[in-house]
Amino acid sequence: MWTAVLVAGVGCYLIKLAGLSVPPRVLEQPLVERIADLLPVALLSALIGVQVLTTGHELTIDARLAGLAAAVVALLLRAPFIVVVAVAAGTAAVLRLLA
């Protein structure tokens, strides 16, 4: 665990420093920018899918999906971040309590 913490910490810092230090035009190509811009979208989406719909190597549907649906509703109602997270957790918790 500590290795991962340190690798992520040092790596993320070096990325930031590299960005500040590189002359802007070197990396400022439309293609590089576009891919770097899409990368968070792809990774976060995949994380949502894996986080909500899988257990180990299996695809599963359980209270987590209901929690995510509740989060969508909260987001549509423009709820702040912490409310969205709490609504999702609360929905899943209540469903498990009833089950």
Partner: protein, 250 residues
């Protein structure tokens, strides 16, 4: 090595306002920190590791990704790899911020740690030099302070809760990712990317090592980037807002 502070100067009003805006953003971001602390402990990190993540990694989406991969049973190092990929955008922010801040040497090295979504958004629309530096430092330092305090609070609270599933904390991680992603889902190309990424990841889950499907989904970004030509920005405050300005040289 004087660091701009909040004391009165030749332009007290704008500076005070810039600093206040930065502090407001810092406090608002603290709410994410509470969730991060609680979820990180639920994922199996101890309080010290959780605090180290917020202090050293200090970029929210990457931290959530790391604990998310670990929470779903992935190897910590593939979590770290996902965190690094998500951290790449900070490098692009740095490209925009470098000329605006105009710092070199140790100051630049120190400033680099503060390059995140929030500090970038509060800097790119300001004029180069003092204004940009004030916005950057006020926002960056405020977020640094409140993010880490909130992480500690969330971690301590999370530790006293017991089994995270009882409170639905496993469902909260997905919701946190969705909330981070939400502002960008208005854009059509982003929508397509998101759907394809989920599909690729879920198809790979049964047949690959845990943690790999998320990394593989990163290839979707490369492919979509290659096949689309998109002149407009993505609606997220940040470097895209200035993309057209940057290309004015012919």
């Amino acid at each position: 090595m004087t660091v701009p502070d909040t004391s009165p100067s030749r332009t007290p009003e704008p500076r005070g306002q810039i600093v206040r805006e930065g502090i407001t953003v810092g406090i608002a971001t603290g709410a994410y920190g509470i969730s991060f602390g609680a979820l990180s402990v639920a994922a199996g990190f101890d309080v010290l590791q959780t605090c180290a993540l917020s202090l050293l990694v200090f970029t929210g989406a990457s931290q959530f990704a790391l604990i998310g991969v670990v929470a779903s049973g992935g190897a910590p190092l593939s979590g770290a790899a996902t965190a690094l990929l998500l951290g790449l955008r900070n490098g692009l922010y740095g490209l925009r911020l470098g000329p605006l801040l105009g710092w070199h040497g140790p100051r630049r090295a120190a400033a680099a740690h503060l390059v995140i979504d929030e500090s970038t958004a509060m800097t790119v629309n300001r004029s180069p030099g003092t204004e940009a530096r004030t916005g950057f430092l006020a926002t960056g330092l405020a977020v640094l302070l409140f993010w880490n305090l909130a992480t500690l609070g969330g971690a301590l609270a999370g530790r006293s809760l017991g089994d995270p599933q009882t409170y639905g904390l496993d469902a909260a991680v997905g919701a946190a990712f969705l909330a981070l992603l939400w502002p960008r889902l208005r854009d059509r190309v982003n929508q397509v990317t998101a759907v394809l990424a989920v599909f690729v990841a879920l198809v790979l889950v049964p047949v690959t090592t845990v943690g790999f499907p998320v990394l593989a989904a990163g290839l979707v970004a490369v492919l979509v980037g290659l096949v689309t030509t998109r002149p407009e920005g993505t609606g997220i405050p940040g470097p895209d807002d200035r993309a057209s300005d940057g290309r004015r040289e012919s």
